[in-house]
């Protein structure tokens, strides 16, 4: 490891990036962020990839999960803070509270709204996020308006931290975050994997591909849609709670539409809607692009100094290219067909499928 490390270091130093700097960033920041986005993308994949629900309010549920778990973990308000005071719960419990809150919101929103046409649903879900943000910002004594909440308890602190220090690890904070994220990503990944093997998931795909056939099989469409929506939103809320714990400070401005909704959509589209494995690729690619661009700021020529605008342009172009040329993503969904079909027949079905992504 040492020999390889020094060789790579020699390669990279002329460019001003040190190997250890990148490694640090990779393990400490990138994987954590990517982990959260992966959870979000999987949840959106459930709603959109499996059932075709157009949820453009991902950030709304994220925010509700984050704020609820925050309110349940923060102590009494300080001198200049005004927010609702609730009992302080130990760490995993406040996350569950956040998850439930997101689920309740999904229930309330979903009941009237899920039966709307796709484009209407998209518009309404965009609106929800804006409304929640303005409520958070404008209501006195609710969530401390724009100043946000701070001092949220970190995941499993101090037990995890002490344990790590015992083993002799230096950067306890980062590693603790990483372990927690890795644990939950694996857990949720397993959950989704198992979910896709259930008859319930098969019914969802049936509903998406042929809305007329589903009632013929006796399936309750409205109930299925609501279930998918609520489950997906609860997981989004959970991701919010996790993320709040890790940053230990939140405010309405940290939940912007763009990064928490649109970017997730790009990941799902690029990765391939419907296949959880493809989602992993999509998330790594887009998160790497989005957050990694600042790493290379030093080595770029001086006229490309506005990295933030550039990454927007790059992401936009990538998204458009995918949508025009490969709308089903990097790993398109494998249609589930009878094993008696020959390979050619299956290819023809995939080809036909490329022509319609929506019901």
């Amino acid at each position: 490891m040492n020999i390889l490390g020094s060789q790579i270091t020699e390669l990279v130093i002329p460019f001003g990036i040190t190997f250890s700097g990148v490694v640090d960033w990779f393990w400490g920041t990138f994987l954590v962020i990517a982990g959260i986005y992966l959870i979000l993308a999987w949840a959106l994949n459930l709603q959109w990839g499996y059932l075709g629900i157009f949820n453009f309010g991902v950030v709304a549920f994220f925010m509700v999960g984050a704020y609820t778990s925050a309110l349940f973990s923060v102590g009494p308000p300080g001198e200049f803070e005004q927010y609702i005071e609730i009992i302080q719960l130990p760490v995993p419990l406040n996350w569950i509270a956040g998850m439930l809150a997101a689920g309740i919101l999904a229930l309330f929103v979903g009941l009237p709204v899920l039966r709307l046409r796709h484009d209407y649903l998209a518009i309404v879900t965009i609106g929800i996020a804006q409304i929640l943000r303005s409520v958070a910002n404008s209501t006195d004594g609710f969530v401390n308006r724009n100043e946000g909440l701070q001092g949220l308890s970190k995941p499993f602190e101090p037990y995890l931290h002490d344990l790590l220090r015992l083993i002799g690890i230096d950067r306890v904070d980062q590693l603790a975050n990483l372990l927690v994220i890795a644990f939950f990503v694996s857990l949720i990944g397993l959950f989704f994997y198992l979910l896709t093997t259930t008859p319930w998931a098969r019914t969802l795909r049936l509903l998406r591909d042929s809305e007329a056939a589903a009632p013929a099989f006796g399936k309750n469409i409205a109930a299925l849609r609501l279930q998918t929506f609520v489950i997906g939103s609860m997981i989004i809320g959970f991701a919010g709670a996790l993320s709040a714990s890790i940053s230990s400070v939140i405010s309405p401005s940290s939940f912007n539409d763009f990064e928490r909704t649109f970017l997730v959509w790009v990941m799902v589209i690029v990765g391939g809607s419907g296949r959880n494995l493809g989602t992993i690729i999509g998330v790594l690619l887009i998160t790497g692009l989005w957050f990694g661009v600042s790493l290379f700021q030093e080595i770029l020529p001086s006229f490309i100094d506005d990295v933030e605008s550039l990454r927007l342009i790059v992401i936009g172009v990538i998204m458009l290219l995918f949508l025009i040329f490969r709308p089903n993503g990097i790993l398109p969904e494998k249609p589930q067909v009878s094993r008696f079909y020959s390979k050619k027949d299956v290819e023809k079905i995939i080809d036909d499928k490329e022509k319609l992504i929506d019901p």
Partner: protein
């Protein structure tokens, strides 16, 4: 609690806000009608119009400056009649943008997935992201305001009317008349209405629907650019408007009925007036919430819009 003169006063302010929403709504509903999905890049198209007008305006005054100076939060410019040619250039640019996105993005997607509402919608989000990036790259994030100095309000019986409101509303009326003439008194207008109504039937009757779509996008783009510049004159020029303006404009279009410009006109005014009147009773931070409530009510009770048959 119900002080009528206060309500009317705020309603007058609402006419100003509402006119801008109406204008943007009319632009959106034209493209929504022929393309069957809401163009999420609409907000950023308005912002493009704002920035183009700004730059042309500055050029005409001999100033060339794209990035705002870091000194204050906003940069102030004085308004003068130079704004008119700047406005025209802005409108044309946005119209061109609309046509370009149709040719480069939406048409190829339509060819590949003809039945899809979904892919073009997501594509319009891609366009929005791209546009945001380009706008931010060229003009930066710092908001700017037009400063016309202190202009006294006009008196209408007991009520105060800002001259700005009058100008904006007047422009809206002028545009409405012109649009009516275009849509109902010209052949092109007839083909536009036909394609919006039933594009397969139009195609079968010999109308070149692709060409008509381009024209519709262009006209929609003109209106959008105009709405953007009016917004800049009324409020400010800022990139974030590209997203925040979406909800009121989409709501106006849906309330009025998709594809119906007069519906969007009325819907915009309803929303603008409701927003401003609500300030009497609740915190101004909730204005977007009011729009949302109106949208939800209409979607639940009469989703095809208040003014469609």
């Amino acid at each position: 609690m119900f002080d009528f003169s206060e309500i009317i006063q705020f309603a007058i302010i609402g006419i100003g806000t509402g006119s801008i929403i109406s204008m943007a709504g009319m632009g959106l509903t034209l493209s929504y009608g022929v393309i069957k999905f809401p163009n999420v890049a609409h907000g950023y198209s308005m912002v493009l119009g704002m920035f183009i007008a700004l730059t042309v305006y500055q050029l005409l005054q001999g100033v060339v400056e794209l990035e705002a100076i870091q000194l204050g939060a906003t940069k102030i410019l004085r308004t003068s009649w130079f704004i008119l040619p700047a406005l025209l250039v802005a409108m044309l640019t946005v119209g061109l943008l609309a046509v370009t996105t149709e040719l480069l993005v939406f048409r190829p997607i339509r060819k590949k997935s003809p039945q899809s509402i979904v892919t073009p919608l997501i594509a319009s989000i891609g366009v929005a992201i791209l546009l945001h990036g380009i706008l931010q790259y060229i003009w930066g994030v710092i908001p700017r305001i037009y400063d016309s100095g202190i202009v006294p309000n006009l008196q209408f019986f007991d009520y105060q009317v800002a001259p700005r409101t009058l100008i904006i509303f007047g422009t809206l009326m002028l545009v409405t008349i012109l649009l009516y003439i275009l849509l109902y008194r010209t052949t092109i207008g007839k083909t536009m209405r036909a394609t919006s109504n039933n594009s397969e039937l139009a195609e079968v009757s010999g109308i070149n629907t692709n060409k008509v779509r381009l024209i519709t996008w262009f006209v929609g783009g003109l209106l959008t650019g105009l709405a953007g510049v009016l917004f800049a004159l009324q409020v400010n020029i800022s990139i974030t408007t590209g997203l925040t303006i979406l909800l009121p404009v989409f709501a106006a279009v849906i309330v009025g009925g998709i594809g119906n410009p007069w519906g969007a006109l009325t819907g915009g005014l309803i929303i603008g007036i409701s927003q401003e009147i609500s300030v009497i009773w609740i915190d101004p931070g909730y204005k977007q919430a009011i729009t949302f409530i109106i949208l939800i009510i209409v979607l639940l009770i009469r989703p095809r819009g208040l003014f469609t048959k």
